[in-house]
Amino acid sequence: MSSQEAVRHFHPRARDALNNPRIRQNFRRAMDGLMQKRATALQDHDTEALRDLGAAIRQRALSQLPDLLEQLEANCTRNGIQVHWAQDGDQACQIITDICQQQGARSVIKGKSMVSEEMELNHHLAEVGITALESDLGEYIVQLAEETPSHIIMPAIHKNTEEISELLHDKTGTQRSQDVDYLTASARAQMRQAFQRADVGLSGANFAIAETGTLCLVENEGNGRMSTTVPPCHIAVTGIEKVVQHLADVPPLLSLLTRSATGQHITTYLNMITGPRKAEEQDGPQAVHLVLVDNGRSDIYQDDQLLDTLRCIRCGACMNHCPVYTRVGGHTYGTTYPGPIGKILMPHLLGLEDTRDLPSASSLCGACGEVCPVRIPIPELLVRLRREAVDGDSSRPSVVRGHGVKRHWTEVGVWRAWAWLNSHPRCYRAALRLVMALRFLSPRRLGGWTRYRKAPRPAARSLHQHLLQRNRSSS
């Protein structure tokens, strides 16, 4: 993992994004559209019952995660899929590099995979002279721009058509155009050649089914199917939490995933991969590998509350509905996964040292938790991470790497004084009387608050005082 120093600086990036009208407009428009689409797609369903089911399926899978992973490995192996285990991103990159080198591979075509982003695979492959080309349109755009995805489902959502047209013109010589179909066709033509040349196809996996040893890949563009069938070797890389127990667990999760993500009832493609090409088959890869990546996930698994983080099916609905994400966009977070899920996941992957500003970057409005298809209690997990960041709960030891990083004696002192005052009602009332008597002295400037608002003024008399007088006059 390269230095994550840059991740720490949330505030300056947030300021830049807020002051960039194009970013503000691109995200607002896209997120409004996505929220509307989700609502429409779910209007004829008992959404809450479906979410209950989704949560139950994911909880059941996680409750037996070690067993299911062993079962998955056994069934994949039986199907001819070679299974590899990686403790962290670097190890996963090494495994993939080794497979590529055994194949004598010079080029890799990639379907969309956030785990490969998480471990910076393209960078690792480039170091050993292997070219990786992204074939998901959004990822392709982001790769051309030498950027990172700003959204887990729609990686280039921060760009509008004009910016994409300009980029394609600069990098590939495509004519400038506002015609999305033309731009897409041009990118498609470039990719066709790459698919034919590629020695290895790489993809993620949305679900890995333990009982059948099957990998599910959900996509719209067909590039996932091309990446996994055209090159002679297919490598799927995914997190260990993606396993589900039964084949029958997939339809409800798929139903939730596509509706929550893009408001689709179903995607254009659902690929179910159960092994390499068989003797009698005409196409498909000769070898299929599955790389299962831990990268901090088994640490999350140790804690009975934080465990809920691993339910995620990566639909992105939390970011689509997040008022913070909508305003600052994905790059502000500085992490592979942005938005609410990023705020609860990245501290585990990178440690709280490097993600110190993420848990607090939420008004705890609860919009994310309300739409999460698998009912991850995101606001509660944010509060838990805030607690970890300040070592704020003496009854429960902190467990997240880098815990206590936000603990400062001044803040501890303020809260202790606050707690003392609010635990001594007579002193609280005396303090209130003092505040009311000196209200003309109350500060007009209060840091960031008064940059946007007038400072609140204490009332002339507190409710306590009003009620005391009311009692006196009535008795």
């Binding site: 008004s363 938790g369 509660e380 509060v383 704020g392 709960d393 635990s423 505040v435 960031g448 608050w449």
Partner: protein, 254 residues
């Protein structure tokens, strides 16, 4: 939370309630608290105000300082010995007690008491509509208003329908809807200070939506949102100013 947790069982209208005013009402908006008490009395309920109440403990809770939150919350637990409902004129503080006290005290000797108090805590507008079945007679001038329901009233207390139900009883009041009514105003307690720019952008958008709705005035169900949005309206010099829904109802109907 599963489907079964979402079923609310409203009690029969009680003779008495405990009133937990919240610190913001006590210090900044006492008239909202007085209005709430008068509306409850108008509904024929005797209001008990435990004088030793301070704060629900939410500010340090949301900031991660659980020890301090628990210390203050422990004091509040002792204020409600009789089985009367506890009503709170703010979704966020009601949510703190109703949703978070059980977790805050889990595994401690106070766990059962916290559970029991959580169960009888209600957001006040919800209580007025669904327990008191409050009937209002509008005596005010014609007015066009927008309502901002707090995220906690909406999502933690499931009380989003109560504000509109009360306002629709007022014959001279036209309730208009702003764009994105369910979006947060950007308050979020310490969030407004720690992430001032993001919070500022959110409140700018919220006030803009309220102004664009054609409302002359807005009301909120929570003092945090009120302090945030109205504080911004005052800063901006906006003609659209805010008020707690309880103050608004009391002014027009009592």
């Amino acid at each position: 939370m599963t489907s079964s947790d979402r079923i609310k069982l409203y009690p029969a209208k009680p003779e008495k309630v405990y009133f937990f005013a919240t610190c913001l009402v006590d210090i900044i908006y006492p008239e909202a608290g007085l209005s709430g008490i008068e509306l409850l009395e108008h509904a024929g309920i005797e209001v008990i105000y435990p004088a030793d109440q301070t704060c629900c403990g939410q500010p340090p809770y949301s900031s991660g300082y659980i020890n301090e939150s628990r210390a203050v919350a422990t004091k509040q637990l002792a204020l409600f010995p009789e089985p009367w409902p506890i009503v709170v004129p703010a979704g966020s503080c009601a949510g703190m007690i109703h949703r978070h006290y059980p977790e805050l005290f889990a595994g401690t000797p106070l766990a059962e008491q916290a559970e029991q108090i959580a169960r009888r805590t209600w957001e006040l507008t919800d209580f007025l509509v669904n327990v008191c079945h409050l009937q209002l007679q509008d005596r005010g001038q014609p007015r066009r208003v927008a309502l901002h329901t707090s995220c906690t009233a909406r999502r933690e207390m499931g009380a989003a329908d109560a504000g509109p139900a009360l306002l629709r009883q007022l014959q001279q009041v036209e309730l208009v809807e702003q764009a994105r009514p369910t979006e947060c105003c950007g308050f979020g307690g310490t969030f407004a200070v720690r992430h001032a720019e993001v919070s500022g952008a959110m409140v700018e958008d919220k006030l803009q939506a309220l102004e664009d709705s054609g409302a002359e005035h807005f009301v909120t169900t929570d003092c945090g949102c009120l302090m945030n949005i109205d504080g911004h309206a005052e800063h901006k010099g906006s003609p659209v100013r805010g008020q707690h829904i309880l103050s608004f109802l009391k002014e027009r109907c009592l």
